[in-house]
């Protein structure tokens, strides 16, 4: 039996790596932004939310789907960001968490929502997603003192792999690249009853470079002030 694994893929003309400092800086930025986002979620729903330390990964596009469960059903939104920084942001909730959120928002008894089909149910998820997205953006914008303009959100309830793929296509379409940078922030309800979610940010490479140089400048300034 002959068998061979092939990947007909033109490797790395645009290799992109982050050094330890840059990774730390981006992690911290992710932390600030997701704290912003999750605080507003807590205010809106009245549940206490825990966030995990955000991770920043540079992944090659062919491996991107290995980071997640490609077939997992998630409900969420897709937003394009422009302004001081451009890229794409997704807020995704696994099926059951999305149902739970709809219950909370629409004042139903827990467990009542079993689908996300009606316009009301969809807009509940869109509202929460959009609020998380805009406060996440606010967090970043505040930090850098520039403004960010998120596009109106568009909704989907489908396999996670396909959601991710859309953002990857958008990034690759704009800039030919073999790698995407993925900010991933997972959060969950403190009591672990029901709400889990992911915030995924896919920056354009130019924007990321700009952001990194601004971060480095900031750190240098801090150091000189300390002296």
């Amino acid at each position: 039996m002959k068998e061979k694994e092939e990947d007909g893929d033109g490797d790395g003309d645009s290799e992109f790596e982050l050094n330890a400092f840059q990774k730390d800086a981006l992690n911290e930025l992710g932390n600030i932004a997701s704290c912003h986002a999750v605080t507003s979620l807590a205010e809106m729903t009245g549940v206490t939310i825990d966030i995990e330390v955000p991770t920043v990964d540079v992944v090659s596009i062919k491996d991107a789907e290995k980071l997640i469960e490609a077939e997992k059903m998630v409900a969420g939104i897709f937003v394009q960001i422009d302004g001081g920084f451009s890229g794409y942001l997704q807020v995704l909730f696994p099926e059951r968490s999305a149902f739970h959120l709809v219950d909370i928002l629409m004042g139903k008894t827990p467990g009542e929502t079993k689908s996300i089909e009606t316009e009301m149910e969809q807009s509940a998820v869109v509202e929460i997603g959009n609020m998380l997205a805009s406060s996440f953006c606010d967090g970043i914008a505040d930090f850098f003192h520039f403004s960010l303009m998120p596009s109106p959100p568009s909704f989907a309830f489908d396999m996670m792999g396909a959601m991710l793929e859309n953002a990857i296509i958008a990034v690759v379409q704009a800039q030919e690249t073999e790698h995407v940078i993925l900010f991933r922030c997972d959060f969950q309800e403190e009591t672990e009853k029901g709400i889990y979610g992911y915030i995924l940010l896919f920056p354009q490479h130019d924007s990321l470079k700009k952001m990194l140089s601004m971060l480095e400048a900031e750190v240098r300034q801090d150091k000189s002030e300390m002296k």
Partner: protein
């Protein structure tokens, strides 16, 4: 490399499963399962020769390579993927006359990205290239606004498309 293999392949009933990530292709002789998981506007292109029992699957992302600036061609692009996969099939003893094609994907999931019509263009370019190469397209499940997972069984040539709405065998 070991980790890579662990993710790429596992066994189901003793049959080796291989996943094609974005822009990748996989080839297998019988027995084998070739899979593309969770695609939206991407296309899963399967070529199959039922006499030699060899199948190939490509996970195509964008319609065209914009002039082929790169020296190395890639399965990421619809206009190059058909040729690359076909060549690889022939290298694995398939006969061009016996090869048939099946495709799935090309959906449009988010209204933000509708203007680009990537899914639609992907499907159109793949079909065009198949015609150009004289490969018969025997089954397709394209368009819509939902995600799909696709499996090609190299034993039977069965092309299974799973989506939110259910499972289809093409």
């Amino acid at each position: 490399m070991a980790a890579e293999r662990f993710f790429n392949s596992e066994l189901e009933d003793g049959v080796k499963k291989q996943y094609a990530g974005i822009g990748e292709m996989k080839i297998a002789h019988n027995p084998g399962l070739l899979m593309v998981m969770g695609i939206g506007s991407c296309i899963a292109l399967a070529l199959y020769d039922k006499y030699v029992k060899v199948g190939g699957m490509a996970h195509i992302m964008l319609p065209d390579s914009r002039g082929g600036r790169k020296a190395k061609k890639s399965c990421k692009f619809a206009d190059e993927a058909v040729l690359i996969l076909l060549e690889e099939m022939l290298r694995h003893d398939a006969k061009k006359m016996q090869i048939v094609a099946k495709i799935a994907g090309g959906a449009s999931m988010f209204s933000v990205m509708d203007t680009l019509q990537i899914g639609e263009k992907n499907a159109a370019v793949v079909k065009e290239m198949l015609i150009e190469e004289g490969i018969k397209l025997v089954a397709e499940d394209v368009g819509g606004n939902y995600a799909r997972s696709v499996i090609l069984d190299t034993c039977t040539g069965e092309f299974t498309v799973k989506a939110k709405g259910g499972v289809k065998n093409l």
